[in-house]
């Protein structure tokens, strides 16, 4: 297996998923996911509510443990590594959460500085400069001393991106970057992702259900449905796909009545899933 993976790494895969399965208790959410994420590309994971796309993202950053399968990230299977090794990898990744997940008791500047203070021995003055730089990159220059509660939804997302960028990650994850934002602000966040992609050639993985945003930022896309990969390909390939589920998703065709009820039930169970 090791050899196979190193061959794949040479092919430029940053992340490789092999038959990944994730369950909450008895219920399996992801039923064997396989795909590669190439270094430097922007991959958008598309899917409806309850499709398992958020679970997939949480598993990729190590917040959920897979029940079986492999996740090769920077040459290591994060499904099997020790917590200490996982921490090593986490220093190389950044994650922007749906609601920002900024620490409410700290200023924006302290939020961005936190990973630097925890993981580096940099001088306070150096950290201050880095914080200013990162905030400038996301268009929030001068907001160091604001509390997260004083920021609008879009600014919170930008601040969260600045925090995710603090450690100069090689891989950046976004959970629903445009959720809860008006179209103009959402377009601004899309623009920011495009700028980051151009400036740093980072590997970027975005989970979303916003089609317009997805087609704007993606190099390639994966469509997840009911815990399975339905389709994977470039934006052009997706657009011209004839797969019925892909067409249904892209053309925004509602589910037929009966399955809709099933989906509704599935959604209900998703919401009431036992806390972990």
């Amino acid at each position: 297996m090791e050899q196979l993976i190193s061959a794949e790494m040479q092919n430029g895969a940053m992340i490789s998923l092999r038959n990944l399965r994730v369950s909450y208790g008895e219920r399996e959410i992801l039923h064997g996911i396989n795909f590669d994420v190439m270094a430097g590309e922007t991959l958008v994971i598309l899917g409806g509510s309850g499709s398992g796309k958020s679970t997939l993202l949480r598993t990729l950053v190590g917040l959920e443990k897979p029940s079986s399968g492999e996740i090769w990230l920077k040459g290591k299977d994060i499904a099997k590594i020790s917590p200490a090794e996982m921490d090593e990898i986490r220093r190389k990744i950044g994650m922007s959460f749906q609601g920002g997940a900024l620490f409410g008791s700290m200023t924006v500047g302290e939020n961005v500085a936190l990973p630097l203070r925890e993981h580096t021995k940099l001088e306070d003055s150096t950290i201050e400069i880095i914080v200013r730089l990162k905030l400038d990159q996301v268009g929030l220059a001068g907001f160091e001393n604001y509390m997260p509660a004083q920021l609008s939804g879009g600014m919170k997302k930008r601040a969260a991106v600045a925090r995710a960028l603090a450690m100069d990650p090689e891989i950046l994850f976004f959970d629903e970057p445009s959720a809860g934002l008006d179209p103009i602000i959402a377009a601004g966040v899309d623009q920011l992702i495009l700028e980051l992609k151009k400036a740093f050639h980072m590997t970027i993985i975005v989970v979303t259900h916003e089609l317009a945003s997805a087609f704007l930022i993606a190099d390639r896309m994966v469509l997840i449905d009911k815990g399975n990969v339905v389709a994977i390909g470039s934006t052009a390939e997706m657009r011209s796909s004839t797969h019925p589920r892909v067409r249904q998703f892209l053309d925004r065709i509602a589910e037929p009545e009966v399955t809709q009820e099933l989906d509704y039930l599935q959604m209900l169970t998703e919401i009431t899933r036992p806390s972990r």
Binding site: V61, G62, R90, G94, M95, A101, G104, P115, E118, S275
Partner: protein
């Protein structure tokens, strides 16, 4: 059969809960005593601000409550003592019950209301807003960052608050002693000190440290297991208070029994 399985289930759940608390305490102990030597320095600044919040800011309300408790104790013991014309024993009765039992206990109850609930609400809210997840993806252990400073603060502040509570209780008793039992303030304090052995004070303080550990463990644990949604934070907070009060009383019983049998001979 039904009943036995139910009892068995409850006991298993209870033991699992205590196990989770012990695990939390052990990890906090690791970050306190081992972590600093392995490149994970303590968050002293955070511990100090927690100590301010949980300790110093609790002083006004704690003073008032324990003053009244001291006064109540004096009144209650005088009710019995005056039958024997032994009102001068009020001072020792108040001093001993405050330092051995009520000082630590009342302090713990006040701290549960102020801080145990706040820990659960703070951490629970952070769980709901994915801030705990954010810490983990930044390779920052929430136990190190959030929980350990709280343990440190509480283990230091609870005994301090308890000493203050003992003092205020004695003053409360003194009010009755001076007004009704013919003491002067000076003589009342003197009589209280004479009645006390160092042992009484120390056992109270040992208990208060254990109470601090219990309250922090329960508050933080309830916060960390908060489910999705804002209403879950309320549930966690309520549970933190109820479970803390129960466990503090249980710990109190265990230690009181322990001290009783240790000093029997």
């Amino acid at each position: 059969m039904e009943l036995t399985t139910q009892i068995g289930g409850t006991v298993t759940d209870g033991l699992a809960y205590l196990g989770a608390l012990a695990n939390l305490g052990a990890r906090a102990a690791y970050y306190t005593f081992v972590g600093p030597f392995r490149g994970k320095p303590l968050h002293l600044q955070r511990a100090i601000s927690q100590a301010m919040q949980a300790g110093v800011r609790a002083l006004p309300i704690l003073s008032l409550i324990t003053f009244f408790i001291g006064l109540i104790l004096a009144l209650q013991s005088a009710y019995e003592l005056r039958k024997f014309g032994a009102l001068n024993f009020v001072a020792s009765a108040v001093a001993i019950s405050m330092t051995r039992e009520l000082g630590p206990l009342i302090t713990a109850i006040v701290v549960i209301g102020r801080s145990g609930s706040a820990f659960a609400a703070e951490i629970g809210t952070m769980k709901v807003t994915e801030e705990i997840d954010a810490l983990e993806t930044m390779a920052i252990d929430p136990i190190h960052f959030l929980v350990t400073p709280k343990f440190l603060a509480m283990m230091v502040m609870l005994p301090c608050l308890t000493i203050w509570a003992n003092f205020m209780g004695v003053l409360g008793g003194g009010l009755f002693g001076v007004a009704q039992a013919g003491f002067t303030w000076w003589r009342y304090i003197q009589a209280s000190l004479d009645a006390l052995f160092l042992r009484d004070i120390v056992t109270g303080l040992v208990k208060s440290v254990m109470f601090g550990v219990t309250i922090t463990a329960v508050g933080c644990h309830e916060g960390l297991v908060t489910g999705a949604g804002a209403e879950q934070v309320g549930r966690s907070t309520t549970r933190a208070v109820v479970v803390s009060i129960f466990l503090v009383i249980l710990v109190d019983l265990v230690f009181t029994a322990l001290f009783f049998f240790m000093t029997e001979r």
